[in-house]
């Protein structure tokens, strides 16, 4: 998948200072499932899936998701955020093979 690791972040188009806004984010990732052999035994290997999502706003960690393989392929997450000051909002996705995918949007007030 050539799109692997592409991060999308959606924020409301109009933000008023002090507002609590909902942010939606998505990463293109296979989130590999457990595979079993013919006997139903789990094939031991390192499955590649996102195990941690870290949201940073104005240099501080706001929300963290610890995820398992029970999360869908191309995982989608949403969360709330109090838009206190204009600044960057960064979302980082970490997977079990050491992959690190991140996206940034600027929170600004119109």
């Amino acid at each position: 998948m050539s799109d692997l690791g592409k991060v999308r972040i959606r924020i409301p188009s109009r933000i008023v200072p002090g507002d609590v806004v909902q942010v939606r984010t998505l990463v293109i990732h296979p989130m590999e499932r457990i595979e079993r052999d013919a006997q139903g035994k789990i094939i031991p290997k390192t499955y590649n899936y996102i195990h941690r999502v870290v949201v940073t706003y104005l240099g501080k960690t706001i929300v963290t998701f610890d995820t398992t393989q029970s999360v869908s392929e191309n995982p989608f997450f949403s969360f709330a955020l109090r838009a206190a000051d204009p600044g960057p909002l960064k979302v980082e996705f970490l997977d079990t093979t050491g992959g690190r995918y991140e996206g940034t949007v600027q929170i600004k007030f119109s």
Partner: protein, 163 residues
């Protein structure tokens, strides 16, 4: 056999007692798993709840937690779930964790969300996989350690967990 003066029976019992207290209070056990590999184990839902929350009581949070799931999920591979908690988010009292647990999944603990007061509102949404029809629970841990849960049944037409 006579015990040596340094290791008396009394001292021995004291030491054993101290080890027992330490084990019971969790000093000797490993710290709480921080990584998802330990969070998502193959286990039953009862085993998962016992492992994550110990014997702490989980209260019914029907009036507090709003768990949004579809009644029927045609595709178990992508089931949107969202949780909103009616709770203030102040530095002294806020929602610390939201857990999503799918009872029938082979890996029951789906996600643990860690929130901070800066989030402004205890809200999370995500897409989960459901293996078969069963309850989906949202368990909320507040900053003082109280636990609340709500559960909703989701009917799954085609399971999405594979394996």
């Amino acid at each position: 056999m006579r015990s040596s003066p340094t290791v008396t029976r009394r001292r021995m019992l004291e030491t054993l007692g101290a080890i027992g207290v330490a084990a019971a209070s969790g000093v000797l056990t490993a710290p709480r798993p921080a990584r998802a590999q330990q969070l998502g184990l193959h286990e039953s839902v009862d085993g998962a709840l016992k492992r994550v929350f110990g014997s702490r009581p989980i209260r019914d949070g029907a009036g507090l937690i709003k768990l949004d799931t579809p009644l029927i999920a045609e595709n178990g591979a992508v089931v949107p779930v969202s949780v909103r908690v009616d709770s203030p988010m102040t530095p002294t009292s806020y929602v610390k964790h939201i857990y999503i647990v799918a009872d029938k999944n082979r890996i029951p603990v789906v996600t643990r969300v860690t929130l901070t007061p800066a989030a402004g509102q205890a809200f999370m949404g995500e897409n989960v996989r459901l293996g078969e029809t069963g309850d989906v629970r949202a368990i909320v841990e507040q900053s003082d350690g109280t636990l609340w849960q709500v559960a909703r049944e989701v009917k799954v037409t085609v399971g999405g967990c594979g394996g």
